[in-house]
């Protein structure tokens, strides 16, 4: 005699992303906070010291935000036109920013008026930054020139005129105080050593360079331009290590996480992708409402701030770690009671009576076991099952159909229950996993409740919704079939080139598989 076999719930492997440690980590952020800025956000920079304020450059202002503040705690607005690239110094005391009029200004974080102003660029300055010795500032702009400034004397030390187009990005090395790089729209990235009169290295990216980044070790260089993110080995003389093409629009910004294990890239295609720096595979991706212009990650990855073209600043904070031990602590019996009798070893003359293992059945299984079809269906239409595990609901419907009692289980329901059923069916019927059985269910429901159509506005609305959902799906399938037809003609012309009698069957086979995959 066999035991009752519970309903088999078909588990379909989830397509798309798998749950990895990365997905868990990067999903651990709260719902974003949106802050409206005056214009497109072109730069976000975190202060390297606690409490990790961040400077946001948008339009003609630089706003400094505190970690959880939604209002700027400080504003620098001494710009006539747009400000660019407000960047913190390593100690977090100074901020430098370029501007549309060509001047570079240096601010004290606590002050309001600029401490220094460096004039020399003839066109807007899009890139400024501190070298790692803290006393020099590099800059580059639309006049194709890259310059180096001395802070105490506010004079230009050296100027390089090597780029042949606008320079829009740059980065200073963290390990060597004399090295900085700039990327330009002339498709090159140039590496400068302040001790040398000319650039020491030129890397051909291939597209206008939008963003460059040096790894903390200084050995690797990342450049973004066009749809590509390219990683170069500086120590090998600028050899291309890997070229990533995961965005379908221009990549605008790059960023490393605090551990240096993950590389983030933001793009005009509204996505931020996260790569592992060991395998250079995409491990996670975020998408945003509009094109991403700038991106920054706070130390310890506590906050992700993304600036967009429409001037919205999107701030995500990490959820606090849940301490499970505290909540899950239950009063347990004393150790002595707990182990009582468990350590007893049976002697040879003892009779051992083993307790049968009790199989706990789910509620719907218990009801199905006693052939209570209607109640079983009610049990799986409870909100937690219906919403979170629709496959269980569908499996029970299938089992009822198999037993031939689906019709009687669906019959005799009141307005509220029909509403519930129809909502479920209309929502899930387009899911290919559930389509076959839910079509039957929808069929039976319409069959049973046809006479009462028109008596209840709620039910009528649901029927219309169902009709719309199915109509939409049919249109979609038709479109897919059209595409398939086009592909078939393409395959046919493709195979004609290599004339063998076998290819016919092969193409059929291929067509067949694509069709099934599309149907599914």
């Amino acid at each position: 005699m066999a035991a009752y076999k519970p309903v088999v719930v078909q588990v379909v492997p989830k397509l798309g992303e798998r749950i990895t440690q990365d997905t868990v980590y990067w999903r651990g952020y709260k719902t974003p906070v949106q802050i409206k800025e005056f214009g497109a956000v072109n730069k976000i920079d975190f202060s390297p010291v606690a409490p990790y304020n961040y400077a946001v450059t948008a339009s003609s202002r630089i706003h400094i935000y505190g970690r959880y503040s939604q209002e700027p705690i400080k504003t620098f607005s001494r710009f006539k036109d747009a400000a660019y690239c407000a960047t913190y110094r390593d100690d977090g005391n100074l901020i430098v920013a370029g501007s549309e009029e060509g001047s570079i200004r240096l601010f004290d974080v606590s002050g309001r008026a600029p401490l220094r102003q460096f004039d020399g660029h003839t066109k807007p300055v899009h890139v400024v930054g501190f070298l790692s010795d803290k006393y020099r500032v590099f800059s580059a702009g639309d006049d194709y020139a890259s310059s180096l400034w001395d802070i105490p004397s506010s004079t230009e030390i050296i100027s390089y005129n090597e780029h042949t187009d606008y320079v829009r990005c740059g980065c200073a090395s963290k390990v060597n105080a004399d090295v900085f790089i700039t990327g330009s729209y002339d498709h090159t990235v140039k590496l400068f050593d302040t001790r040398v009169k000319n650039s020491v290295m030129t890397i051909e990216h291939g597209q206008p360079v939008e963003s460059v980044l040096l790894f903390p070790s200084g050995g690797l260089l990342v450049s973004a331009g066009g749809r590509y993110v390219k990683v170069w080995d500086v120590l090998k003389g600028g050899q291309l290590l890997v070229s990533l093409k995961n965005h379908h629009k221009t990549v605008t910004c790059l960023c490393l996480n605090s551990s240096g294990q993950r590389l983030l890239s933001g793009s005009l295609d509204r996505h931020v992708k996260i790569y592992s720096t060991t395998s250079y595979k995409v491990v996670h991706s975020f998408n945003y409402a509009t094109s991403v212009l700038s991106l920054a990650l706070s130390p310890e990855d506590e906050t992700i701030v993304v600036g967009m073209t429409n001037g919205v600043l999107n701030v995500k904070h990490r959820k606090p770690e849940v301490r499970k031990e505290k909540t899950a602590k239950k009063r347990q019996p004393a150790y002595r009671t707990y182990v009582k009798g468990r350590t007893y070893m049976p002697k040879q003359e003892d009779f051992c009576v083993s307790k049968p293992v009790k199989h706990v059945l789910r509620k719907y299984d218990k009801l199905l076991k006693s052939f209570q079809s209607s109640k079983a269906l009610d049990a799986v239409l409870e909100p937690p099952i219906r919403l979170h595990t629709p496959e269980v609901t569908v499996a029970v419907m299938q089992e009822l159909h198999r037993r031939g009692t689906l019709r009687s289980a669906l019959a005799g329901r009141d307005e509220k229950q029909i509403d519930l059923l129809l909502t479920f069916v209309a929502r899930r019927v387009i899911d290919p996993r559930f389509t076959s059985i839910l079509v039957t269910v929808a069929d039976i429901i319409t069959d049973i409740y046809q006479p009462v159509v028109g008596q209840s506005a709620v039910v009528d609305r649901q029927f219309l919704k169902l009709q719309k959902a199915i109509g939409k799906e049919i249109d979609y399938q038709e479109e897919l079939l059209e595409v398939l037809g086009m592909m078939d003609t393409l395959f046919a012309t493709f195979t004609r080139k290599r004339v063998t009698c076998l290819e016919e069957s092969k193409s059929n086979g291929l067509g067949e598989t694509t069709e099934t995959s599309m149907n599914n």
Binding site: M1, A2, A3, R402, R403, N508, E512, T513
Partner: protein, 834 residues
Amino acid sequence: MVAPAALRVVRCGGGGRGHLGTSAVFSSDSKYLLCASGDFVKVYSVATEETLRLMGGHADQVTGIQLNPHNHMQLYSSSLDGSIKLWDFMDGIAIKTFTVGSKLLALYAPPDFEDSVFVVIPKSADRAPFQLVSVKLTKAAGQDVEAKELSVVLSGVDASPKCIAFGREGKYVASVKQFELCVYFFKKKLAQRFSLRSSKANGGSNCFTCVTCHPREDCIATGHADGKIRIWRNFHHRKDYTYSTLHWHHDIVKDLAYSVEGTYLLSGGIEAVLVVWPSESDCQRDFLPRLGSPIEHISMSADGSQCCTLHTDNRITIISSNLRFSKSIQGLIKSANIKTGLVVDPRTKALVLNGEPGHLQFYCLQTDQQLFSLDIVQREYVHQAGLHQTDLVKVAFGAQGKWLATVEEREDATNPELQLKLWFYNEKTQSFKLNTRINTPHEDHITDMCFREMDELEDDALILVTTGKDRVFKVWLMVEDTDPEAQQRVSWSCDFVGSYHNYQATNCCFSEDGSLLAVSFEEAVTVWDSVTWDLKCTFCRPPGKIKNICFGRLTCSKYLIGATDYGFLCCWNLLSCALEWSAHLNISVLQPDPLSEYIAAVSWLPRESSLFVFKPNEAQPVYIQRNLCQQKIQLAAFVPRDEPEMVSSEKYLWLRRSQLFFLTETQELMTLSTKSLEERLTPASKQLAVEESLPVTPFSLLLGKHRRHPSQEDTDLGNGVVQNKHKQESPAVRELLHTPAHVLPSASFLCSMFINSLLISKENKSAKEVADEVEMESEQAEDDSDEEGDETEMEQDDPSPMESLGELPCKLSKAQERELRKIRKMDYSWIAAF
């Protein structure tokens, strides 16, 4: 083997009629269960579930068996051949045969009638209506006696044996037919008739199906086709009778039985649930659900400790009195429709086919027992008529039984639900574990499935091919999962989809070396390269669609055989791509022998099946057996023998490596053999009955302990070898115990040999014994002298008893010597007691 080797068709299991003719009978001590099975009466041991005896003698189906109420060691059996036989079932001897003349449809032997039994016979020859007559069994001497003293008790009764029951102390007999219950009182010679108004409430009519009488009270229980049970009381009076209704069953009540004291009533039906109705209405009814298949008969043992149910699939379930499932006697389970074909499990050499619904049964041919039943569908089976349930349709084994592929489908009005499952054999648990499940592998029914079987190549060369009515064949390949976090290392996925001119793919077959795949598409056979999946060539022989294809093996591997439904058997040469020969034969089954180049083909002409065995390289068959059986042969399988059999004649050379089994439409399993079934029944099982009746003595306790030993050893080792041979434990011991004392040599001589036979063989030496070795060594010196004497003595003695004992080892190994020494130190003082 010396016997004139005429090949006979021998039935060896299963059977359409099976046990279903009549209910089973417990012997009075409840140790044996007697059961009618086709033309035979079978005796089962309740304790071991084994078939102890097969009593044959009737020329037609046995329709009733009853214990002789005046001698509980005897059994009456009635048969359609018109005779009643009296058996001594302990010895399996037919004591007497009473010839009645007309067909006997049921037999009753109530205890209160001196030397007469009741049978149901047709009124006029062979036709309804039927009548219940009492037969006076004369005490005349002689084996065959004519029993002509018939007296009609009731006429117009139903033919089913369940429709008549005898009341307490033989006072009355109750019979039901259609809508009428008739009670005949023997004393008053009066028949009371009670009829029901026929009604057809929700699908079922309320006509009677079965009847039983309370053993202590005047009370009759009747079962009805609409699932109701009626309890009739006070039926002595024409008018004042009463009945109460019990209703649980939703379909026909198949059988009813009262417990010995009448305290409760058992009922069973198509739901496969045994329902217990207590007599006192205040008690709750009890259920034993999920017995596997619809209940056909219920019977109680005389002491009330057990009851048994007979099921429609030929299974017997023994249920203890506290309503616990205790044992199940099952041979070849009869399933509604064998769709999987006969497949041989390469690991256990068991026949594999549909068993219980949704299960795969592994049937051991040697012991006529089911080895195990693998649940494939894993869904609750609802026993209800008219439901489309998921069932198993295709089975294939791959890689020497390591992989099992199954296809299950559920027939639906709109689209069939298909699942392809791949199972991996787990050595540790000794069972198949589900590896991959593929939903909807084809859009339509799967017609055939085969593995590419390769001997030396590693696992990843394993390929599965399925052909479907959706006009494609698909190739499934094992892929390794590179993700280290994945639960299983390998899974299966589709590799190639092939089709040919939009024809339905019907059969597929791999050549012996696995390099070629033949797929038949309606009228054409296509041959594909199994590496590149290129179409190599096509064969066609119109008219008629291809029904079966197979490749030749060994020396004939260049041939491809195909059978068409137009009645042609064709053989193509793969080297010349031409038709080698063809024959006009209406082939129903085509089965190649996996171990030789012979191919068996069974043809079907109306009312006659014939067997042809041929080699593909010759158009002339090697062996022809006309008129194999009356029924259509549905399936056939070659089962490899454990060791090649000696074959006397050139003609039967094809039977050397494997044995051919057939399954007929009524699911009778047959084979071709030179031996009859009685010979094939192992002598060990016959001995069993004797051994069980032996009283318990210290000696038998010792033997019993020893006999259990090897089996324990086997389970302990658990080294993945399935024991399929029926082991005869220590034949020497048995020989010794069953030889008359006066022909045995002296006890002193036998003693050493007897002890030898008790020794455990060398390979079972455990670590513990090795440890013992050390302490033994000190004693070795003193033992040495005695031992030498013993050995020489043994060698000097005449070798004749040694030969008769057969399997004793002539020389002792070291381990055995050590054992011997150990045993010698044991206390044998109890021998002195004899």
